[in-house]
Structures are given as C-alpha cells and as structure tokens.
Amino acid sequence: MVPLSWYLILSGILFSLGVLGFLLKRNIITIFMSIELMLNAVNLSFVAFANYWNTHPVADKSIVPLSGQVFVFFVMVVAAAEAAVGLAIIISVFRTRETLNVDRVNLLKL
Amino acid sequence: MLTGVAYTTWLERKVIGRIQNRWGPTRVGPFGLLQPLADGVKFILKEDLLPDYVHKGLFILAPMLALVMSLISIAVIPFGETITIAGHTTALQISGITHAGGGISDINIGLLIILGVTSIGVYGVALAGWSSNSKYSLLGSLRASAQMISYELALGLSLVGILLLSGTLSLREIVFSQSGNWVLGGHDTHVPHWFIFPQIVGFFIYLLAAYAETNRIPFDMPEAETELVAGYHTEYSSMKFAMFFMAEYVNMFTVACLATLLFFGGWHGPHLGFLPPIGQALLPVVYFAAKVFFFIFLYIWIRGTLPRFRYDQLMAFGWKFLLPLAIANIIVTSLIVAWGA
C-alpha cells in the first residue's frame, strides 16, 4: 500500500511547481493555470487525507473521513468561479492593454 | 464497431438519397453495399499531406484525441445482460473493472465517465481548429467548442432526472431499474417501465443537446459548408479526416446507445417464449440494437429534413431555453420523487 507521505510529497511538489510557475511565467493565462495547478495539489492532499482518515479512524468522531472529498468539491467550485471571473478579467485587460504579458500590465503602482 | 460506423455512412447516404429523391450509392456492389469499403480504401491510400505552418504535434494529435475519446465513451456502454459462455460469466460490455472472476463487471459511475470523456473530446475539435492555423478552422473550432461547452450543461442536467428516478450512476443498474411495467394505483398498466414516460421533457432536452454535442444538423455550425469551408477539419485530409469522420459517427452511436439505455429501457423488451435458447440469450442484444438503429435513423432523418440554425440563435437556444427547461425539469422531478418517497 502506498504511504500517505508519498501523496503529500507529490502534492507538495505540484504546489511548489505551481508557485514557481506563478513567479516565472509572463503570460497571465499561464499564471492562472499555475493557480489551478496549486489548487489541484491541495485537492490531492485533501483526497489523500480523506482516505487516510477513513482507514485510520480517530477515536472520537471529530474527523469525518469523507469531508476531504467534499472539500475538494468546494475547491473545484471556487476554482470554477475564479476561472470564470479571472478569464473575463483577462479578456477585458487584453481589450484595453493589447497584451497578456503581466510585465507590461504594471499600472498597479504609485 | 468501425464497420458499423462505415455502414452507417452508407445507410446515411442511402437514406438521404431517398429523402432527396435520388438513389445514393449504387455502383459498388449490390445496392452499393461495398461503397464504405471503397471509401475506406480510398482514405487509406490517399497521400496523408501535412499543410505548412501548422502546429504539427497538435495537428496530428487532435483527430486521434477525438476518435479515442469517442471510442472510450462507447466502450463503457453495456449492450446486454451478463452472458455465460463456457462457464465464464461476463458482462456484454467492452471495458469495465476486471474483478477476481476474470470477468468484467460494471463501472458504477459509467454515466459520469461518459460525460467526462465526451467533455475531453472537445479538445480534439478545439485543437484541430487552432493547430491548423487557418481562419476557417479557427472560427469553426471556436464555434464548436463554445457550442459543446454550452450544451454539455443542458445535456448533463437533462440526465439528472434519470438519476433521480433510478438513484444510481451505473448504466447497468439504470437499465435494471427500467425492467417490468409501470404500476399505477396497484394494477399493471401494460406500459413498459421506461423512463421516457416520466422524463419526456428530459428526453427531448437530451436529444437536442446531444445533437448539438455531436455537431449534427441542425446544429452543425462548426462545419457549415456554406459559411466556413468545412469548419475545424478544413485542413484535414485522408486518414486524419477519416478519424474525425469516424469520431463523429461513433459519437452518434454513443448518443443513440445512451438514449436507449436511459430512456428506452436498454435491452428490455417483450419476452418471446417461442425462440430457441440461443435466441433467448441473444434477444436482449437484438432489442438493444433495434432501438439504437432507430435513433441512428432518426439522426439521418433529421439531417435530411431540417435546415441549419443561425449561430446566435443556437447559443440563445442553448442558454435561454434548454438550460432553464432542464433545471425546471429537475425541480419538478425531484419534487415528485420526494413526494413519492
């Protein structure tokens, strides 16, 4: 059987890669994808823990095993909403600035 | 399977021919029965040319993706009950979870898988249009992907009613839950226990959405010959075009099978006692095939008769009519179920 730590390490790697992507990519759409990647990494650890608590139930029922998967569901909803709004924003930005390069969209300063 | 697809094309051409008062293919073989074969040979023998200035990887990937996804989706569809051959009991189904017995049992989220796979299938279209660096293709694929995304919602929601009634996601169990006849007020109305009757609205939503999903007339904007040459597969030729072609027809099959399974009781049908045992065993498959054939024919029929929508009409129809209707259908159904429970 697979150790829980493997899943967690995998999710950690994915998360770090997502952060790196956010930092290093110039294309705003790609940056969004990096965010999605991070969310997915988190989801992975959620599901892994859900399974883990199912197989190692705690004495008191303080932890509902399946709740991890429910959280994944919520995360997906949030991700969907975020993607919808974010992409809409990207489109409007593109309309005004004619670019997708965040380095060129740097009006956010004094 | 692919043979079936090939002959579907033949059938289509014949039927359209009849509808349009002409013969359709007659030269190759009796009634042109060998026509699909000839087509296949032609596709294979043709030079597989790759236009310049296309994103090669994606250009090649796209049709494969489309075909593979469509095949996967049809793979999970059960077309019969378990059958016992030489002591091995196996489900009449192409893919599933192999369990200890070595046989194949059902995937208990089959429906979801089909939905997911079809949604992946969108990439084929989108990538095809985008990779082949041509405005017709791009526009076509844009239309196609937009249309697919939009109608996926209606499609999925139209199935929720079924799920509410059957209470499962497994296609096989959905079919089982349609066995027998409707029993109203204690006495047996000799109407088969199919979900078409309570879900007539859902059925029509499903049908329309599915047609849109498969880019068939009257929703074939993506390949509207008159507007953009051939939509997303303008740049494609020979085998890759064939793949798209096959993918489309396989999708048609999938849709037909799903309609059969979900609304028309799958392989259930009147029990015929006079047949020999082997016949008895094969009877459900026959019923299933018959129903699927009906839907395929329906496809062709509609193609032969109906004109094409305008694109904005299409979108408006999808978002402003189908979606609310589907939601209303869900609400009503769930209320009824809750009231019955």
Partner: protein, 166 residues
C-alpha cells in the same frame, strides 16, 4: 504493489506535466500539459478510491475549466510569451521562498513519513457517490448553498466583465 507502481507512474506523469507547464512557452501547450496533470490526478484519485471526485475532476477541471482556458487562448489568439525582464524580485525573493517552502515541507514529510501510515482503497463503498451526497447535502448544506451563491455571483461578474463598454 500494483498500487505503488501505478501511483509512481501517474505521479511521474503529473510532475512531468507540471514541469512541462513551466517549460512550454506557448499557452496552449501549457494548457494541454495542465490537462495531462489533471487527468493523471483523476487517475490517482481513482487509486485512492474516490471515484466521484475523479469523475468530477475530469468533467469540471479538464472538461470545463481547461476548455475555457483553451477557448480564451484561442479567442485572444495568444502567441508565445516574450521573455521580458519584468521583475528581479521574482527571482531574488520568490525563488528562494519557494525553495524554502518546498525544502521545509519536503523535509518534514520525509522525516515524518514513518509516523504517517499508508492509504489504500479500503472499504469498498468508500468513495461512493451517495456517501458524498449525504455529507454534502446534510452536514455541509450551508457551505454548499454559499458556494452556489458564490458561483452565481461569479457568473454575473463574468458576464459584466465580458460585456463591451458601449
């Protein structure tokens, strides 16, 4: 054993996809590599016995969100990104930050892996849909409703933003 092999395979696919997402310079390629990541994640979910989540993962993420991305990329006809030197900070501050993050977390996990147990497709009906449904519509009803409101707002926001100003 089978599980471990499968996990390693899919995990490697995931990481490869993620790295590819970073390496690729064209958004479409990145998007596709992300799709790959998600698909393999879905399979890992199946390994964890969470069928429903896996299916949802495919449908929502791969099928809806990523398609939306691709759609937008095609709509804006985004070309390959140019390598602008926008931010030194990203390099001299962010990258070390990420390294610290990954390093600490990884170190903790590796060192603590002994204490953590293993996971498996345990009880058969674990990830079944109706369990999740019960949880979702009984215990987590309020969050569910709130998320629905959230997504409604998101739709409206998207519509408003997408409108042309005229």
């Amino acid at each position: 054993m089978v599980h471990q092999v499968l996990f390693i395979v899919f995990g490697l696919i995931c990481v490869a996809g993620a790295i590819n997402l970073l390496v690729q310079r064209h958004p479409i390629s990145s998007a596709l590599s992300l799709v790959v990541v998600m698909a393999s994640l879905a399979l890992i979910y199946l390994l964890l016995g969470a069928e429903f989540v896996a299916a949802i993962q495919v449908i929502v993420y791969a099928g809806a969100i990523m398609v939306l991305f691709v759609f937008v990329i095609m709509l804006l006809n985004a070309g390959a990104e140019e390598r602008t030197r926008g931010s030194r900070m990203a390099l001299i501050v962010g990258v070390p930050g990420v390294i610290i993050l990954a390093g600490t977390v990884g170190w903790m996990l590796v060192s603590g892996s002994g204490r953590l147990g293993t996971v498996s497709i345990s009880s058969s009906n674990f990830g079944e849909t109706h369990n999740i449904a019960h949880l979702l519509f009984r215990d987590f009803l309020l969050p569910f409703e709130i998320t629905s409101v959230l997504i409604l707002i998101a739709i409206m926001g998207a519509v408003v933003l997408g409108k042309r100003e005229n």
